[in-house]
Amino acid sequence: MFNFLGNLASLFGLVFSFLAFVFAKSASTAARQARNAMMRQSLSKDMSSAARTAGEVDMYLRTDRREMALLRISDLINQTGYLNGRWEDRLPKKSKDNLFRAVGQLRSMHAVLSVARELIPEDQARLARSCQEVSEIFSMEHGAAARVAEAGEEQW
């Protein structure tokens, strides 16, 4: 009789252990998914902020506020460094290349605007083109990050 009860208790123990394992595993998966979702949202926010700064650079250049444009260009170079540092392991190669291109364009814009002379129309045309390219890059990357955030785990 005692022997039978002992066996029954072992069987129950085994079943409970298995159920505990299953619940723990699904809880861990849910936690990982929640963490990834939060990170995807965070990347989308970071890209959105960079896209906004790029828009400000464009506005300052259009309104001929050189000093403000220079400040925002420096900010955007720093933001891009942060973006690349923070998301280095997660960003696809194409996005990293895009960030490199953006930094290259921003550096050249900074160099042109830092020269203490009146800008000639050719300078202004090149600046406008570079600015447009930077804006496009960050808008595109923001779109890509938002898409990944909406798509969920499988694309991350």
Binding site: T80, G81, N84, G85, E88, L91, P92, K93, K94, S95, K96, D97, N98, L99, F100, R101, V103, G104, Q105, R107, S108, M109, A111, V112, E122, D123, R126, L127, R129, S130, E133
Partner: protein, 120 residues
């Protein structure tokens, strides 16, 4: 004396540029072109008039100086200049001109110019 590795790097950039495999693009500076490679590095090639040499040679013979810069996202890693020992004479200029031609889509524009000429 330039590191052997830098010369190998320069020759690699030149040969891949000639093959059209490096996506050079113009920047806000007239004589500066950039490219991103492999999601890990950026290249920049620029030319600058050498004021002292220009003054010595006269205004009709300006001497351009060229520099190729390799960067990662954090820092400048290396700069190769045409005056560096070990760089073949004229090779840096060749790289600059090839990169510039590709960046401004010279081929397409010349084709268009030929078409325009034929209509005259």
């Amino acid at each position: 004396m330039v590191d052997e590795k830098l010369i190998k790097f320069f020759e690699g950039v030149l040969s891949k540029t000639k093959e059209g495999k490096i996506p050079w693009e113009p920047t806000a500076q007239e004589s500066n072109f950039i490219a991103a490679i492999g999601g890990q590095f950026s290249l920049s090639i620029s030319s600058q008039a050498d004021r002292y040499s220009t003054a010595a040679r006269g205004i009709f013979e300006p001497l351009e100086k060229y520099a190729l810069v390799l960067r990662d996202m954090h820092d400048r890693i290396a700069t190769v200049a045409d005056s560096d020992e070990g760089i073949r004479p004229g090779a840096m200029r060749e790289l600059y001109e090839t990169a510039r031609y590709q960046a401004v889509h010279g081929g397409e524009k010349i084709n268009k110019a030929i078409e325009v000429l034929q209509t005259l």
